[in-house]
Amino acid sequence: MSKLICIEQVAEFLYDGMVAMFGGFLGVGTPEEIIQVMIDNSVSNITLIANDTSFVDKGVGKLIANRQVTKAIVSHIGTNPSTGKQMIANEIEVELVPQGTLIERIRCGGSGLGGFLTPTGIGTMVEKGKQKLVVDEKEYLLETPLRANIAFIKAKAADRAGNLIYDKTARNFNPLIAMAADMVIAEVDEIVEIGAIDPDQVITPGILVDKIICKRGC
């Protein structure tokens, strides 16, 4: 069965209340066409897991500004004033997670691990509600896995088997969220034939990717 779908078909997989992971670092490496479909379809009550809330007019920031997100699990909201305003007004719940902890929690969720011990956040507000463990006389926080219903990936190219490669800093969260969701949809700049990507250069194996959208239409 082909993994290729049209951008319009993405709507079939969206629903109110969904937990969605998005690739992207300040909007770089985010599937913008998928974001647009989420806006066009007024998907509401989204729990967003991403590095940051980007800008009001870019990437996941648009979903925030459009008030489609009710909970955001991110490391940074400073570049999107809308997030802060909604947070102060109690219109959005924001869980701020240190970036390294956030991406490792996602990796955990995709790797069948139950958690990990990190020194990050020891002695800070991040400790709150978390178990502390001592290993080799050093104190660590126990951090737990994160998973999503759907992960939305942006990649440079896919082959028809779903193998993905990324362009420079647009890689960021994408390869990790591809492992941590029940469904994985990738928006790519180019679709190539199977065999066109050297197996040694594949970053995300095709077995992780359920659907592929080519930006240039289908």
């Binding site: 670092f25 300040l26 909201i77 240190p98 390294g100 990190t118 990050t120 020891i122 991040v126 969260f173």
Partner: protein
């Protein structure tokens, strides 16, 4: 002394702390300026927490997929390597970054740092800062000596939420350089024309004066 000058002085002094071969992560804002003052004979590799080593200045060609950790256009030097965010922070926490230079809102005598939120005012989030301060071998805080309202930023005890506990190695301001030891701050350098008593009057935290104190380097 104008604010611009202060920043340049700080950046220039911090640059002298970098050693040939160091892997260095510069925070956004003032710390980014450090790259411009690196002595010619010192070659360091810049790590960018969004996912690469070999960060260089943007070369004018536009590639929206090549940005620094502030989201601004960046360049990649020959020999650069790209990776995902899990690898980026494995490098940071794993001790593979020699030096990080970050701005600070407050630093205290115990080496605690606050730089990620001001309750009720500003909550940008910690981004990668909490990982950087626990992971980098050397944590240099580059900041102006006092806040804009004139209040002290080098305190006996941080009052803002912490970014990290006992993590700061060194503080560089436009007036002084402090190292942080188990016994608190040690004044290592002082700007020309500034006397120690004047420095004490604008530094809440007490500090010891190094027996080898010298005039601030980098001029």
């Amino acid at each position: 002394m104008k604010s611009l000058d202060a920043k340049a002085i700080i950046a220039r002094r911090v640059a002298l702390e970098l050693r040939d071969g160091d892997v260095v992560n510069l925070g956004i804002g003032l710390p980014t300026m450090v790259a411009g003052y690196l002595p010619q004979e010192v070659h360091v590799v810049f790590h960018s927490e969004n996912g690469f080593v070999g960060l260089g200045p943007a070369d004018g060609t536009i590639n929206p997929n090549l940005v620094n950790a502030g989201g601004q256009p960046a360049g990649a030097i020959p020999g650069a390597a790209m990776f995902d965010s899990a690898m980026s922070f494995a490098l940071i926490r794993g001790g593979h970054v020699d030096v990080t230079v970050l701005g600070g809102l407050q630093v205290d005598s115990d080496g605690n740092l606050s730089n990620w939120m001001v309750p009720g005012k500003m909550v940008p989030g910690m981004g990668g800062a909490m990982d950087l301060v626990v992971g980098a071998k050397k944590v240099i805080i580059a900041m102006e000596h006092c806040a804009k309202d004139g209040s002290a930023k080098i305190l006996n005890k941080c009052t803002l939420p912490l970014t990290g506990k006992a993590v700061v190695t060194m503080i560089v301001t436009e007036l002084a350089v402090f190292k942080i030891s188990k016994d608190g701050l040690i004044l290592e350098e002082i700007a020309e024309g500034v006397c120690i008593e004047a420095l004490r009057s604008i530094t809440e935290a007490g500090f010891n004066v190094s027996p080898t104190i010298q005039t601030m380097q980098g001029f």
